[in-house]
């Protein structure tokens, strides 16, 4: 029997193979992770731990394996972002307004994962309603990044909004986790915690049962230790679903088979507009290093232009709050969650929403309400949707010349808790490199590529044309091999 720390040290692909060879069982693996989760509570990565359910699912998985039925994720224990509805298990979106909510149904993405044999360890903390870039807006408190600079005992943020997912994968207390990405919420936290985070093309993953933030942008994706793990897990998350009107009915390729290690002859675009003012030299250096790695692997580096890059973030901060204000209108205190009684119906609505939503969520609902209000719709929302067309055209033209695009994932490494929480715009700028692809619905992934001057992880982002996740994984795999990122956080929470 293997030691517990050996088991939790395995990547998803390694654990899959160990299970297949009979070197361990799902119950053994799951027990090791349950212990690791309990020992890592100082990270505050979980909103709800479900150890009993995990053991039950692991036993069922081992029984299936004995009977000869083995799914692609058979027996692998996962963490699930609390934005996914899980049947009869508290699902909160890390908001007070969803107090006690136990959905009577299961999201399609988690259903797909359970059908592939995966095991649920629990529900992961996040920014409230996925609105944030540091996981500091959760009603359940901030999540800590497992990484800290050497000799620095302050808490650093894991990024957001999938901060609990990123933190738990980096801390090796789950094999992998689900995330969701609206403007960078998978890729930016992946960069901050030294893991892989991949967002498929809009429409690949069903949004059914995922608490809605901005419906034209929201996409689920895997957060994992390696590119191979992400390819395996994405394959089990995606697929056509009649329950989501924007789900695409397209064949799903075998993403893992994209990892050929061969990118000879591929054209990789380097967008000039991503070289922003005030970009830290360490980010610039890492980006050039990434370029060199891909060139050495036989790719051709092509300078490209995405002229409307600088307008993606302001357009996003019209479109996303507008859609959020509409989606979050359903939280009225009548059908589920929190109700705070007032003297009449309107006062009950107003008190419920004032107490149930945190400051950032209230801010975004009000921005959204304002930009959609009578007389302003054309000036803001319509204008932003026109700019969005231009951003999409920029990428279309670029992908006429290149096969994939390489950029930094985020403009900085993880920062200390509290450092940016007083300034919304400074916080929004975290997503400057991830938002453009979100606005165009394109697939993108962050691959850990190096360390900052103070020893914190940094990621590089690979973007690909719509529905060409295969090229994204192919390039991501080569980048990962070249970077050979092997640094791990010191497990200070075990002290």
């Amino acid at each position: 029997m293997a030691m517990n720390s050996d088991l939790t040290g395995l990547t998803l692909a390694e654990a899959r193979d160990a299970l297949a060879k009979g070197e361990t069982t799902s119950v053994e693996l799951t027990e090791a992770y349950i212990a690791a989760v309990a020992a890592a509570r100082p990270l505050n990565a979980f909103v709800t731990e479900t150890p009993e359910k995990a053991i039950e699912m692991a036993k069922a998985s081992d029984a299936r394996r004995s009977a000869g039925t083995v799914g692609a994720m058979e027996g692998l224990p996962l963490g699930i972002k609390d934005l996914f509805c899980t049947k009869d298990v508290l699902s909160t979106a890390s908001s007070h307004i969803l107090d006690g909510f136990q959905p009577p149904y299961e999201s399609t993405v988690t259903t797909n994962l359970w059908n592939a044999g995966a095991v649920m360890l629990g529900k992961l903390n996040m920014d409230e309603f996925a609105m944030g870039s540091s996981n500091e807006t959760s009603y359940y408190g901030p999540v800590a990044n497992p990484w800290r600079p050497e000799g620095d005992n302050r808490t650093f943020v894991p990024g957001g909004s999938s901060g609990g997912s990123a933190s738990s994968v980096a801390a090796e207390i789950v094999v992998a986790a689900t995330g969701t990405d609206t403007g960078g919420s998978i890729r930016q936290p992946a960069s901050f915690t030294g893991i892989v985070g991949a967002k498929p093309t809009y429409g690949r993953c069903s949004r059914f049962g995922v608490v809605a933030f901005a419906s034209s942008l929201d996409q689920a994706g895997p957060m994992t230790r390696t590119v191979r793990d992400a390819a395996i897990m994405m394959g089990s998350m995606v697929g056509f679903d009649p329950m989501d009107s924007t789900s695409v009915d397209m064949p799903v390729p075998d993403f893992e088979s994209a990892l050929t290690g061969d990118i000879r002859g591929l054209k990789i675009g380097i967008p000039a507009e991503y070289r922003i003012d005030g970009m830290p030299p360490e980010i610039e250096k890492l980006w050039q290093q990434g370029e060199a790695w891909l060139r050495d692997a036989g790719a051709e580096i092509v300078p490209i232009s995405l002229p409307h890059t600088k307008y993606a973030l302001p357009a996003y901060y019209i479109v996303a709050p507008a859609e959020a204000s509409s989606n979050l209108a359903r939280y009225d205190g009548m059908r589920f969650g929190l109700r705070v009684d007032g003297n009449d119906l309107t006062e009950t609505y107003e008190k419920t929403r004032a107490e149930g939503f945190g400051a950032e969520v209230q801010r975004r609902i009000m921005i959204g309400t304002y930009v959609l209000s009578a007389g302003f719709y054309d000036a803001y929302y319509l204008k932003a949707q026109k700019v969005r067309t231009l951003i999409g055209q920029d990428f279309e033209q670029a992908f006429g010349q290149v096969d994939a695009i390489l950029t930094p994932t985020a403009p900085s490494a993880a920062f200390a808790a509290g450092e940016k929480s007083g300034d919304p715009i400074a916080m929004y700028l975290n997503d400057v490199f991830t938002v453009p692809a979100s606005m165009a619905g394109l697939p993108g992934m962050s691959v850990p590529a190096g360390l900052s001057d103070n020893g914190m992880p940094l990621g590089l982002q690979v973007l690909a044309p719509a529905f060409d996740e295969m090229t994204m994984f192919r390039v991501g795999g080569v980048l990962e091999s070249a970077a050979a990122f092997s640094a791990r956080p010191r497990k200070w929470w075990l002290a």
């Binding site: 302001p314 009225d332 109700r339 009449d344 006062e347 801010r363 302003f376």
Partner: protein, 95 residues
């Protein structure tokens, strides 16, 4: 464009979020900072650009108009803060 106190009060009312009178001014400043940021878009000439309506470039599917679910009133009301005999209990709306 900038949001004065009255506009913030009106937006809060539309959004059904209670905001204390003494918070209106500070909240207005926060919102103005964001509105100022997004107004950079005014620099972009969009006079001959159509707005994006679907990122996935596909038509919405049709489906058969038929009953696919129902008869689950108990489940539907199970999470309600107040319910009675499978009905939602809400504050009095009609006098």
């Amino acid at each position: 464009m900038s949001l004065d106190k009255d506009t913030v009060r009106r937006v809060a009312r539309l959004a059904r979020i209670e905001v204390a009178e003494d918070r209106l001014e500070a909240l207005g400043q926060e919102l103005n900072q964001i509105i100022g940021f997004v107004e950079q878009l005014d620099e972009v000439d969009t006079s001959s650009v159509a707005p994006m309506t679907s990122v996935a470039k596909q038509k919405l599917r049709w489906r058969a108009d038929e009953v696919t679910s129902g008869g689950q009133a108990e489940k539907v009301t199970a999470n309600a803060p107040a319910s009675d005999m499978n009905f939602f209990v809400v504050p009095k709306v009609v006098e």
